[in-house]
Structures are given as structure tokens and as C-alpha cells.
């Protein structure tokens, strides 16, 4: 009897030892992944978490959008289509097919200059940034390392002419990359954007009065022979024909309440989620909340500016996969964005290759109702000084390495005002002084300080090198 009890006791002790050893492995595992010590069990049994392919799909859907999608009739009428417009998804989905086919084709020498193309009938896409061709392939689900995309390093702007059977019997795609026009002859059979549907969209745009406020010229049409005294990108949209007045919403913005009230436990829950217990919490100077573990450090400043740094010394590989890096950046932004500013619309505005390809820096900015929000903000804390982008995030194919984020909750406040957006209302002296040339002119919101709470739109004149000049936008008469 005594012998049996002794054996039982041994068994129990053995079970306890096995379990504690498992927990210990879990703790070590958890430290590697910055998670709670039992996270390893969740990762084994998880079913509700998203798979990598699901995350990639969401990254493509949410952040792979052109900055400007324009349908042109070729007769002094260009409509900027917003994501809220009925035809947007079809035009965008069709355009992706054309770009995909172009990347798979061999480029031809283009006899047409970009100046000529922008005034023609077709579909124009401006990505704002020069999208690295490997990232573009990843966005299009082509596999970023496939051998296509001959002679193409990036894609800045695209002009598509669907075949009409009169002037062209094949589809033509022009891609602007670092000032060079690449021409691709493709054959795309896409019902969302063939000649028939394209013509149908144009009729709808011409006839439906709701699109009147989305109708523009391009600056080349204002100045066909290049007589203006400043140089410029020929595809800049400008309002020349009546009506010169357009309505814009006024915005309210604030530091998200959850960050401003700043209970560090609640913040830890929002920002670190189930990793919160592996981080030490301290309050630094100026009430900065710091979360730190052996691999990472988060700093949340009083003005809603947040910094993240991966501090582990794990080395980089020579050449990283830009698609995977983007997916990691998306995961980071998506996780924090959903906790802090769930309703904000964010778009990809720049990509830089760092360290010869060992990591990538992605820049994102806010957009409300297809109107960009530019940042001209001097942070009160940290060492970063002037901030000109909402989110700058560096990532490689394994993880996010750093992030600087000016977290702002930006919402429409219901107030709408009509402004004079006529091209002739812009102070020409500012355009003359934009060196080396005017890259873009847009009506945009400019977020300057933490003090203001309301944002009205302004003129933003961007140079071809990215510097900005901000001018007041005058209200329409009677407003």
C-alpha cells in the first residue's frame, strides 16, 4: 500500500516537473517574441488570429491605392474619382489588370512624351511615390521576386488607353518611372475596364451633376506650348472652367482620448495588447510613458507623438523581401491604428530602401474624403523636431525596426464651406519661386500644431523635390 502511494507521488511530481518545464520553455519563447509566457500555447492552438496570407491580402486592399485616379475624355475634361464613388472599385480593379499585364510584357520605345499623353483620352493613375517595382509586383500578387518588369525600377504614374478598334486595336499602358516613359502593348480582357465600360463611365461622369465638382483640366491644357514662367509637372489638375467653387468639409482633430488621458495601464493594453506583461512601464520626463523590454522600446509623448524602436542587435540580411517588410509595417500600423484611431484613413506616400536593401522605410499619411492631410508639425518632445509625415516606419522581412507616428484622430465635423479653387486664384509668385519646378498643386488640410482643433483646407504647392508651400484658400463669395 505504502509502495503504491509512493509511486503515485513520484508520478505527480513527474507531471508537475514536465508542466513547469513546459512553462519555462514558454517563458523563454515568450521573451523571444515579446509575448506573454503562455503565448506559445496560443500560437499552437490559435484559430481566430489571421494567417499571413490574410494579412497580406488586407495590406494590399487597404494600402495599395493610387493617390489620384483620373478618367480623361481627352477634351479638356478629367475627373478625379474618389474611393467613395460608385465606379472607383471597378476602375481600380481593371487598372490593376492593365498594370500587371504591362509588367509581364516587354517595354517599347515610347514616341509620345508624358506632356502629350496627359491631355489624351484614357485612365490616369498617380501613385505620388515611385513604387518600387518589386513592391508593385507584391501588391499585384505576382511574387516580388519574379523576373518580370524588365527595365523598370519603379512605377510613379500610369496612363492606360483601352483599345477602341479605331485608333488602336490593342490596349496601351504607359508607365512613368523616374522621368522616363515606358510603353507596353498588352491585351487585357477585363469587363470592369474595357473600352465599352470606359466610354460608359465617361458618359456617366459627363451627365451626372454630382461629378461636376470633380472635373478638372491638367496644367498642360492651360499652357499647351509651355509658355508659363515656371516649370511644372504637366499632369497637375487645375480648375479652369466654371464652376470655380468647390465644397470642402472642415475637420476636427485631436490626440486620441485614450492617449491624452494617459492611464499607462490602459495605454499598455491598447498598444502592447497581450505582450503588455513583458514590458517594464516607466514615466519619463514631461510625462512621457515608456514601455521597454530587452528587445523593444515604446515612447508615448504628451502631444500624441509615438516612437517605437527595436533595440535588439539581431543582424540584417543582405537583401530583404520588400513585400514581407511591407506586410510587417502594415501589421504594426493596423494593430495600433485599430486600437487608437480606428476611423482614420491612411495612405502610403513614400518608400525608401535603406542600407542597400537590408530594410525599407515606408511613409504613410492621413487622408479624409480623398483630400490629403499634410503634416507641418514641430514636436515638443523627443529629438525629432519637425515632422512632415504622419507615420514613418522602417521594417525588414522579419519585423518592424522603428516607427515614428504622430497619432491624431481626424474626423469631419459636419461643417462644409465653399472655396474658390480656380487655378487663377493661386499667387503666381509662389509658383515662380517653387524651385526646381512645381510637382503638384492640391487642396489639402495642413496639420500644424497640437493647439488647433479645427482644420480648414489650404492650397499646397509641392515642388518636384517634395518641398511644400502652403497658401490660404479663399472662401467663395457669400460664404
Amino acid at each position: 500500500m505504502y509502495r503504491i502511494n509512493r509511486e503515485k507521488l513520484k508520478t505527480y511530481i513527474l507531471i508537475i516537473l514536465i508542466l513547469t518545464s513546459l512553462v519555462q520553455v514558454g517563458i523563454l519563447w515568450g521573451y523571444q517574441e515579446h509575448g506573454f509566457p503562455t503565448n506559445f500555447l496560443l500560437t499552437i492552438f490559435k484559430s481566430s488570429e489571421l494567417s499571413q496570407s490574410e494579412i497580406d491580402r488586407m495590406a494590399r486592399e487597404e494600402f495599395f491605392r493610387p493617390y489620384r485616379l483620373v478618367l480623361s475624355s481627352g477634351d479638356l475634361a478629367h475627373w478625379i474619382i474618389g474611393s467613395g464613388d460608385d465606379i472607383y472599385e471597378k476602375v481600380w480593379s481593371g487598372s490593376k489588370e492593365y498594370i500587371k499585364n504591362a509588367i509581364l510584357s516587354k517595354p517599347q520605345v515610347s514616341t509620345e512624351s508624358w506632356d502629350e499623353l496627359v491631355t489624351r483620352k484614357g485612365i490616369f493613375l498617380d501613385f505620388k511615390l515611385n513604387v518600387d517595382v518589386n513592391l508593385m509586383k507584391w501588391f499585384l500578387g505576382m511574387g516580388s521576386s519574379s523576373g518580370s518588369g524588365e527595365g523598370l525600377t519603379g512605377i510613379n504614374k500610369v496612363f492606360i488607353i483601352p483599345k477602341d478598334g479605331i485608333t488602336t486595336s490593342l490596349d496601351i499602358v504607359y508607365i512613368l518611372n523616374e522621368g522616363t516613359v515606358h510603353k507596353y502593348i498588352v491585351n487585357v480582357d477585363n469587363e470592369d475596364l474595357n473600352r465599352e465600360t470606359f466610354e460608359k463611365y465617361l458618359v456617366e461622369l459627363e451627365e451626372d451633376t454630382k461629378y461636376e465638382a470633380k472635373k478638372y483640366w491638367v496644367i498642360r491644357e492651360f499652357d499647351p506650348k509651355g509658355r508659363l514662367s515656371f516649370s511644372y509637372s504637366p499632369d497637375i489638375p487645375c480648375v479652369v472652367e466654371m464652376p470655380l467653387e468647390r465644397e470642402y468639409s472642415t475637420l476636427n482633430y485631436s490626440i486620441p482620448g485614450k492617449m491624452e488621458d494617459k492611464d499607462e495601464n490602459e495605454l499598455a493594453h491598447l498598444i502592447l495588447a497581450n505582450e503588455q506583461y513583458s514590458f517594464d512601464r516607466t514615466i519619463g520626463m514631461d510625462d512621457t510613458v515608456i514601455f521597454k523590454n530587452q528587445n523593444s522600446i515604446y515612447k508615448i509623448y504628451n502631444d500624441g507623438f509615438m516612437e517605437y524602436t527595436y533595440i535588439s542587435s539581431t543582424g540584417h540580411s543582405d537583401r530583404e523581401d520588400i513585400g514581407k517588410a511591407f506586410s510587417n509595417a502594415y501589421g504594426f500600423i493596423s494593430r495600433l491604428g485599430k486600437s487608437l484611431i480606428p476611423k482614420n484613413n491612411i495612405y502610403l506616400s513614400d518608400v525608401n530602401i535603406k542600407g542597400g536593401g537590408s530594410s525599407f522605410e515606408f511613409t504613410f499619411n492621413y487622408m479624409v474624403d480623398n483630400v490629403p492631410v499634410f503634416i507641418e508639425y514641430n514636436t515638443l518632445f523627443g529629438e525629432k523636431g519637425k515632422i512632415s509625415d504622419a507615420i514613418v516606419i522602417e521594417a525588414d522581412s522579419r519585423r518592424v525596426l522603428s516607427c515614428r507616428w504622430l497619432v491624431r484622430d481626424i474626423q469631419k465635423n459636419g461643417k462644409k464651406v465653399r472655396y474658390n479653387v480656380g487655378f487663377n486664384s493661386i499667387d503666381k509668385r509662389v509658383l515662380d519661386e517653387t524651385i526646381p519646378g512645381v510637382g503638384d498643386i492640391s487642396v489639402a488640410y495642413v496639420l500644424r500644431s497640437a493647439g488647433e482643433k479645427e482644420l480648414a483646407p489650404s492650397w499646397v504647392i509641392e515642388s518636384t523635390t517634395g518641398s511644400r508651400n502652403i497658401l490660404p484658400l479663399l472662401r467663395a463669395e457669400g460664404e
Binding site: 479605331i166 492651360f222 499652357d223 509658355r227 508659363l228 487655378f423 503666381k428
Partner: protein, 191 residues
């Protein structure tokens, strides 16, 4: 003493040359406003024309675009629309622009609309109505203050363009024509 006098004269001559050189060079460094102001302020007395007379006249020749640059139209154009936007810019202050169209019945130019004279500064654009057929346009730029004393080429800039409005049916005929040619070529080559 004569040597000193000679040296003094030489110095004076050099100074005079320098002063003359500087005086003639100043205009080269002047901005457009000063330069253009000099050009259009050269009308003295009351020898110039009134704007209305300048507009009506058929006999005034085209001048250089020294007060305002017309960026559109750039030459004679054809359109299917019954309105046209004249575009341009001026770097001068207090400049006005007037647009007129030739009226065959009156055999003179007439203002294109009720508000066809307006002040410009920097970039400008003006939408004007057109009639079917050839619209011979006259665009006059002038300093606002000299509206009653204008001399073409001195303080008034005169530019002519013709914008022809075609019927929409012409557009369809052109497309049909192109299609027919395409079909014939396809038929000829068996495709």
C-alpha cells in the same frame, strides 16, 4: 602741372565712361515691371486711342505679347464646344484684358460678352461664348490707368486668334470615315 592736368582729364574721361556704361546697363538688370512700365508709359499727350475704338478697329496689327502672355489659344484652333477658355498670365500690376470677336454684319470687332473687360494679376482665365463657324478673336491687354490713351505696341498689346466651332455631326462623320477606312484596309488584307 600740365602732367597733373592731363592725369585729371584722363580720370574724368574714365569716370564718364564708367557712368555711361552703368547708366546704359541699368535697364538690363531691371525687373519686368520696371521694364514694361517704361515701355507703356512712353505715350505722351493725348495721341492714343480709347479702348472702344481700339477694340472696334479692323486695321490694327498684332503686337508682341509684352504686357500679358496668352498661353491658350496658341494659334488658330477648332473645337466642338460653344465656349472657349482664354488662358494666360501677366507679371505686371494693374493690367486689364479685353476680348472681342469680329462681327461680319457690323464689319467691326465687338466685345464678346458683357464682362469681357476685366483686371488681371498673375494667372488668368476667361470663359467666352462662341458661335458656330469661325470666331475671329481680338485680345487686347493694356494698363488700366491708360484706358483712354492706348497705342498698340507701346502701351497696348493686341493679339488675334481664330477659334472655329464645328457641329457635333462633323465629329461623328470623322469617326465614321475612320471606321470605313479601317474596314476597307482590314478587308483588303483579309483581317
Amino acid at each position: 602741372m600740365p602732367r597733373k592736368l592731363y592725369a585729371g582729364r584722363k580720370l574724368c574721361a574714365v569716370l564718364v565712361v564708367i557712368l555711361m556704361f552703368a547708366a546704359f546697363s541699368v535697364s538690363a538688370f531691371a525687373g519686368t515691371v520696371v521694364n514694361s512700365f517704361y515701355r507703356y508709359s512712353a505715350v505722351n499727350g493725348e495721341n492714343g486711342m480709347k479702348l472702344d475704338d481700339l477694340i472696334k478697329s479692323r486695321d490694327i496689327g498684332e503686337t508682341e505679347q509684352f504686357l500679358a502672355t496668352i498661353t491658350k489659344p496658341v494659334g488658330d484652333e477648332t473645337t466642338f464646344k460653344k465656349s472657349y477658355v482664354v488662358c494666360g498670365y501677366s507679371d505686371l500690376r494693374d493690367i486689364s484684358i479685353a476680348i472681342a470677336v469680329y462681327d461680319g454684319n457690323k464689319e467691326q470687332y465687338v466685345y464678346v460678352s458683357d464682362d469681357s473687360v476685366w483686371d488681371v494679376s498673375g494667372i488668368f482665365s476667361k470663359e467666352i461664348p462662341l458661335h458656330l463657324g469661325a470666331n475671329k478673336l481680338k485680345i487686347v491687354a493694356f494698363p488700366k490707368s491708360e484706358v483712354n490713351n492706348l497705342k498698340p505696341g507701346v502701351n497696348a498689346q493686341v493679339t488675334y486668334f481664330t477659334v472655329t466651332v464645328l457641329k457635333e455631326s462633323v465629329k461623328d462623320k470623322i469617326i465614321q470615315g475612320v471606321l470605313k477606312v479601317k474596314d476597307s484596309i482590314s478587308g483588303f488584307f483579309g483581317n
